[in-house]
């Protein structure tokens, strides 16, 4: 009886969250499907074109993912081996690109790499023939790498910091070569953390849409998400549902494959008080700096372009009450979504850690997969599904607000899960039995063990969840968003009224707010003891 009670206690939090996420997603899908059958459409058709779209989407996403991850490892290693002024700032900035609305990303990238961009101008100045085209597969890859690589690099860097100092010192005493250090110390950790992240990046690239379309140079390269969007617009709802199932299948499949690649035995990570800087040769150091400068140029110039545009045209008349209202709404939605996402993540992860402790890997895996489900479902489909379910509440601003918060929290959940899963599981392995014997349980356990140990990581994830929720606005397409004008929405509104200077300013604000949130939560988590 006691055993049974205990296992319910273990399963309940995670089970609730998984149930919540998957019920919401599947209910929306099923609602849409039922509606589609009832209002008989033409049904599903599969043709050559669709096959091309699916295969291109897959290739593009795979390429983007691998390039992002490889670059991320290189940059993370360079950052980890060096110390320089502005390093903290750079690391903070690394998380920003992942949150920008596609339109801002496109603008920023084009200001730098476009036909009349900074690079073209620079080449012109030195009379070099500028022939790089940002359109086509190049453009898609550049944009996806720009969006995902910095975030992955930061993530990877943080994992490297978790290698116990003693191990690093030992490896130096043993005279490990550069490659040996990588092979035995760093690689296992990177693999453990980056493979699941790769799954996420793959999903993001697989379902990416506006960016791909704008930079693809034409419909030669379109993603399956466009086909889904088109199907919803044409009211071919069956087609939309089936296409999103295909998308779901691909994404889950890829995640599972990556999961299989993960080594079964992985090192445990700990939080070092002060990371030990591994000694490297001057040539290696030089190489590191080259990597850092090159990546910074790649990441920072488009962001600088956004900042420059915003400042260049700035006028105080832009600070309208609607801007402030939009800002307030965005921040509020961001904070609420982040809180909800953190809550869900902690509940799910507490169960997950227990499952891992008991060696129930399959169950733990499927729980985590279900938690990340939403990334693979197009927001148009979700939004249509929700609409069918809740059409009678569309008048209530409070309801739309809650819906937006829930959806955003789902969207950020996979990212939090990926980052916290391993550290939390390791913590559980280390302290669970000790705390059991000391009778430290529940919230007390969370505060004393998990919160104290992972304060920084928790704060970072909270900030990340916040800024990710700020950048998103997909879900309101059908619901009518005038009452809930978020910043990205406001930005689009400005653009549709030819207000380019103001929109540049709003993009800047979005960037600044994201940066401030990141800084704020990092300071808040700073250990003063």
């Amino acid at each position: 009886m006691a055993r049974c009670g205990q296992s319910i206690k273990i399963y309940l939090p995670g089970f609730t969250v998984v149930l919540f996420v998957s019920t919401t997603v599947f209910t929306a899908l099923i609602a849409l499907w039922l509606f589609a059958f009832e209002h008989s459409d033409e049904g599903f058709y599969w043709d050559n074109y669709l096959f091309r779209v699916v295969s291109f989407t897959f290739i593009q996403a795979t390429l983007s993912t691998f390039i992002s991850i490889i670059l991320a490892v290189v940059l993370a290693k360079a950052l980890y081996q060096t110390q320089f002024i502005g390093k903290n700032l750079l690391i903070r900035i690394l998380s920003l690109t992942v949150v920008l609305p596609s339109l801002v990303v496109i603008t920023g990238l084009l200001t730098v790499y476009g036909h009349t961009g900074w690079l073209a101008w620079l080449c012109d100045y030195f009379s070099i023939n500028y022939s790089l085209s940002i359109y086509g597969l190049n453009g898609i890859l550049v944009a996806h790498v720009f969006l995902n690589f910095p975030f992955a690099a930061r993530y990877c860097y943080q994992s490297l910091l978790l290698i116990p100092n003693e191990q690093k010192q030992l490896s130096q005493q043993l005279g490990f070569s550069y490659l040996q250090t990588f092979r035995y110390l760093e690689f296992p950790i990177i693999i453990k953390q980056l493979l699941p992240l790769g799954g996420l990046i793959f999903m993001m690239c697989f379902s990416s849409f506006a960016t791909v379309l704008a930079l693809s140079g034409g419909p030669k390269y379109t993603t399956i998400e466009v086909a889904i969007y088109q199907a919803v617009r044409d009211f071919e709802l069956q087609q939309a549902v089936i296409l999103s199932c295909i998308q779901l299948l691909f994404c889950c499949g890829f995640m599972l494959i990556l999961k299989r690649l993960e080594p079964k035995q992985a090192p445990q990570l700990i939080h070092n008080i002060k990371p030990y800087l591994v000694k490297i040769t001057h040539r290696q150091k030089l190489l590191c700096y080259i990597v850092i400068v090159a990546s910074s140029l790649f990441i920072l110039t488009p962001l600088l372009a956004v900042i420059w545009d915003g400042l260049y045209y700035f006028s105080t008349s832009f600070l309208t009450s609607s801007l402030l209202q939009a800002l307030l709404t965005s921040v509020l939605i961001a904070l609420c979504s982040a809180l909800l996402a953190m809550l869900q993540a902690m509940l799910l992860l507490s169960t997950n850690s227990q499952l891992q402790l008991r060696g129930k890997m399959r169950l733990s895996e499927s729980g985590m997969l279900l938690g990340s489900l939403i990334l693979a479902v197009p927001s148009m489909v979700l939004s249509a599904g929700f609409f069918i379910l809740f059409y009678s509440y569309t008048d209530s601003p409070l309801f739309i607000f809650v819906l937006m918060v829930i959806c955003n929290s789902f969207l950020t959940l996979p990212f939090i899960l990926k980052q916290l899963a391993t550290p939390l599981a390791d913590l559980t392995k280390r302290y669970y039995f000790l705390s059991q014997s000391l009778n430290i349980k529940g919230l007390h356990y969370f505060y004393l063990v998990e919160f104290k140990a992972l304060k920084k990581l928790l704060a970072y994830n909270f900030a990340l969840a916040c800024i990710m929720s700020m950048g998103d606005f997909g879900i309101v397409a059908l619901f009518g968003g005038q009452d809930f004008m978020t910043l990205p929405y406001y930005l689009y509104e400005l653009l549709s009224h030819y207000r380019y200077q103001e929109s540049a300013f709003v993009a800047l604000i979005l960037l600044v707010i994201s940066f401030l949130l990141m800084t704020l939560f990092e300071y808040a988590s700073y250990d003063r003891t």
Partner: protein, 330 residues
Amino acid sequence: MLRILFTLFSILFIVGPATATAKDKPILTVYTYSSFVSEWGPGSQIKENFEAKCDCIVNMVSIDDGVMILNRLRLEGNRTKADVILGLDTNLISIAKQAKLVQSHDIVKPTNLAVDWWDGQFIPYDYSYFAFIYNQEKISSPPTNFAELLDNPDWKIVYQDPRTSTPGLGLLLWINKIYGENAPLAWKKLAQHTVTVTKGWSESYGLFLKGEADFVLSYSTSPVVHINDGDHRYKAAIFSDGNYEQIEVAAITQYAKQPDLAKQFLMFLLTPQSQQILMNKNIMYPAISIDLPAAYQEINPVTKALSFSADDVARYQKIWIKQWQDAVSQ
């Protein structure tokens, strides 16, 4: 931190109920696209003016764009709250009629109608033409017909995806109107100097202004905005073989709870007062003959208007999109 959160919450929930409307007046619900109701759109002014006359409350609900308004109506069926839908264009009305989403308006065709289009269920409230916009400082000899645009490989063009945007669909119809069976060939020619195809109008117009393209698909009235800002560089290329016309329309929905108010509202849209607002804020030509402001007189007028019947659009749209996909994907 908690205190800030608390304050934010209280602001949200106090502001929320404060904007709730008085219960005793009838409510007219209008579904429209989001830029219509936005701060710079004509929506709020028209709402205010109509409320002053009708002793009712106008509730404008903003939904992405014309296609999505239609879809929302289809999803809601007879449970819809919408009395009026505003913001479809003539290419969409066939779908709306087939799905029985609207009813007859019984409004007599005004004698001063400027646009050559009238329908028993939809009223036109403004119109414009699709056109390629260029910067006259960069393009010294602009194309005077579609063939010239297609035959100059140096000109880089950006347009919108017909699968995801209304202007994109407009281009699809335009090319099929001019080229008919030869449309795939025209698409192939166009593809040779297409910079890119974007999801919506905003992205492509942004690319154009950044100098990424020489021509962007937009409206013949687009230069008005720049002229109002004191920028006279941008022009619309007017083609001798014609520019495709886009007429924006409004209608009373099938299940309207306030059909009389809805009819009044439609008629109100055609008053000079509303037309003035629409012209200034929606940057489209007025549907009835009224004096055009100076900026409108400066832009190139369209010499030949092209259009398909709504039924033809409904019938061929998918085939043509497929044709376009095949032609430009190779």
